[in-house]
Symmetry: none
Subunit: 219 residues, 2 copies
DNA sequence: TCCTATACATAAAT
DNA sequence: ATTTATGTATAGGA
């Protein structure tokens, strides 16, 4: 989807500065006033720095998002659960049917023989099966990965369901730290490799596509 | 010629037609016949009857919804959790991660900017070294979470720096899954709390306006 | 799939 | 809050 943007932009001939000026001038003749130049740049996919602006956009986009979620649930008869925390920490939620959020999430539970239950809600494939354990066991990994299995095993054994919110928060912090560290180290290693071998060419256009990796399930 | 003028004229026509279309649609609904499909968009806010069409709609709208969710999380620095069950019962989910590239690279100052750029990693806030170990050790957690400390301890003991890139990648996958899961559960619990406090019931009717009643805000 | 026309969302200006 | 200009999402068709 994001990849389409480039192409679409070409088709729709995004106006450059000069182009815009010309049109503005033409419009001025038509309208009798020349103040019609409001080029707002492309929306950059990164955190909005200005606090106020961020807040405003959050409201609007949140509205839009909830509306879309609602429409999807009605038009396509889908179950949708959406939870959003504003940067200020306020909670907004939407659930399509009259089931609660917990019920929707709870649907993830009716998987047979799964020890880990809720823990890996996020790790199910499109058929709804938990696959983290299978992945871990079946992934014939190098020896040193057994360490990783232990790690994961421990994560799985923690009784996450029973934790208080505070504990969960703390746990999340820890895991976030771990993840950040691992990413850092991996990237560094890749960077080392890259440096040693050759210079890579700059490739700035795949920027907005990372999110798709966090979606699970396929058609 | 002035494209601007052309565009404006076109828009006006659209608006007039839109009006007619509404009436036509309304009439069609009443009589169950005489459906003129001159207008594409403007979809009735009700379940799509045709199965194939509904499936296609679902795919497209789901994509859009996930994209929006992602954008909201990035642009506005919000936490977003989105779970969708297709009518066929398949699960799709998105959980925003605070672990942005910027955060990761805020910890790594050793990588030359060019390399980072080459890897398509833009932001760096070079302030510290990779400091996971320090972070983890310094965080003196509440006693009730000794389990979590064990977890962290184990993470510490993994000799992450000696891993191959492949191993790191795998490890990263695991931790990402764990993080997403924990996040889901935490958000779910908070949502439960909120619901207990104030149960906001929603009443889907006809227009896309009523969804707003399904949002609940809280501190 | 891909494309196009059109409705819709929304950033900026009022 | 309202308006306007412009980008985006997406219905329908190829």
């Amino acid at each position: 989807m994001s990849e389409d943007v480039g192409r679409r932009r070409m088709q729709q001939q995004e106006e450059e500065e000069e182009d815009e000026s010309l049109k503005a001038a033409a419009a001025a003749v038509e309208e009798g006033g020349g103040k019609r130049k409001r080029k707002r740049g492309r929306v950059e996919l990164r955190r909005i720095e200005d606090r106020t602006s961020r807040q405003v956009r959050f409201s609007k986009r949140r509205s839009g998002l909830f509306k879309k979620a609602f429409e999807l649930s009605v038009l396509c008869d889908a179950e949708v659960a959406l939870v959003v925390f504003s940067p200020a920490g306020r909670l907004y939620e939407f659930v399509s049917s009259d089931t609660s959020v917990e019920q929707i999430f709870g649907r993830c539970k009716d998987i047979p023989d799964m020890v880990i239950d809720d823990l890996n809600i996020a790790a199910r494939d499109s058929r709804g099966y938990c696959n983290i354990q299978l992945d871990l066991n079946e992934q014939s990994a190098p020896e040193s990965v057994s360490e990783l299995n232990s790690f994961a095993q421990m994560a799985l054994e923690l009784d996450v369901k029973e934790m208080s919110i505070a504990e969960l928060t703390r746990f999340e912090e820890i895991v976030t730290e771990v993840l950040a560290a691992v990413k850092s180290i991996r990237i560094m290693k890749v960077a080392e490799l890259t440096q040693t071998e050759a210079r890579l060419k700059r490739d700035p256009q795949k920027k907005g596509d990372n999110w798709s990796g966090q979606e699970s399930g396929k058609e």
